[in-house]
Amino acid sequence: MSRQAAIGWTRVAVIVGSILLIEALCRLKIINPLTLIPPSEMAASLWELIVTGKVTDDIAQTFSTVAIAFVLSVVTGFILGAVIHALPRVRRAVDPLLASYYSIPFFVFYPLLIALFGLNTIPLIVIGFVFATAAMVISTLNGLDRVPRVLSKTTRVLRMSSSSSVLFVTLPAAAPYLFTGLKLALAYSFIGVIAGEFILSGGGLGYSIAYAYNNFDNQTMYALMMFVLVIATVMNGALHVFEQRMLRRRARA
């Protein structure tokens, strides 16, 4: 436990140290202020943006789009994964496709999505969804593969219905892998949506960052970048803590 704590503190020290270093480099003008503003200024400008409510709509748009893409990808990915798992022949056909899935640069299709759906949040949801779903499918397959056969034998000896064995045995047994799927799906929907907003969109955090960049508005650009980074780190950190708790319980000594 104290070793765990030590690792945790080291991590915090690395992050704080890097921020302080960047701060110092900027203040000493070793880094050109036109290139990078000091982190303290980013934070101040972010605070300003938040309290004046200038970015509220962007934040709301990005988060609601991410949330929709995430939920859709998790549900669809899980169902697809379970179906593919149940059909070994389909499995053999799609396994190589899944393995090479992330080598496809989906963003080249983004303009096509806009042509299809118009310049609104639907193309963003689609791109986030497409990006995240495969991760959930792969994690679901992984998890279901690793449920020991003896557990399903146990449910049969206990004469459980198939729905209750899925609910009470298969899902908890696969939970660590499903959780990895959730984590990846969240990260990928986030990346997909923000990247899409960057390329072409009428609002959202990615759009605002790109807009600030085009208008040489470093204060806003860096503030929003910081915001996205902090949010992504906090979300991931929270999921990580939860995951560790689950895994520690199960780790074979």
Binding site: P148, V150, L151, K153, T154, R156, V157, L158, R159, M160, S164, F168, V169, P172, A173, A175, M246, R249, R250, A251, R252, A253
Partner: protein, 278 residues
Amino acid sequence: MSAGVAVAQAQTATAQAKVHARLRGVTRVFEGKLSVHALGPLDLDLPRGEFFSVVGPSGCGKSTLMDLIAGLSPPTEGTVTFEDKPVAGEVPDGIGAVFQEDASFPWLTVRDNIAFGLRRAGVDPAETQRRVEYAIGFMGLREFATAYPAQLSGGMRQRVCIARTLVMQPRLILLDEPFGALDQQTRLLMGDELLRLWRETGATVMLITHALDEAAMLSDRVGVMSARPGRFIDVITTGWSRERDSNIVADPAFGVVTARLWSLLRGESLKAIGAKGA
């Protein structure tokens, strides 16, 4: 004349009623690229309340036999009946099984693992608690009731699985090398517990084991299997009283039974490990 036939039929009927599980002409072939003839053909009658052990060389089909009796996998040929009803497609009510592999649920505490089956079956909570606490004590898991399986040794995890099976109060208990992960001394003590349980519940027990002394000490009868495809080359009746315990290892008759088992198995075990000219 007709009275005589009726008596004969009645006798057959009682003889059959005493048989708890019955296998007739059972074989099991695993189809695949290489089809594996794992078991049989074999016949077996397990009388109600008997303690029956199965010994045999590794890979001879012992676990396969257990799956067939439990209705977990269908025989390729032949029939399995339990309590006079054919076993087909599902596990009949009244059978409990402890598998060779660890089947504890890593996400549940020892207590919740043991209560699992009762909760799923909707047994009333007070009764569930009573049975679970009894089984925890019985299996020596009191200190670990709130631990997770990951914190237990392999032998203790196996005890959790035994307890989880016992609380369901099965009438036929199938045990596949449940003490495989235990040292010899603990094994003998667990054997005593198993005998105590068997006497208390009146259940029929089929124990698969690779320890000949364990089979000799615990059983009413020991079935000795051949190398794959497994068949019974002999079934030895030990003749112990129901009140036996591990002290029987000091009885000269115990040595005789163990020696007999070994002489039957030696050649088969050599075959199983691929030696020639056994």
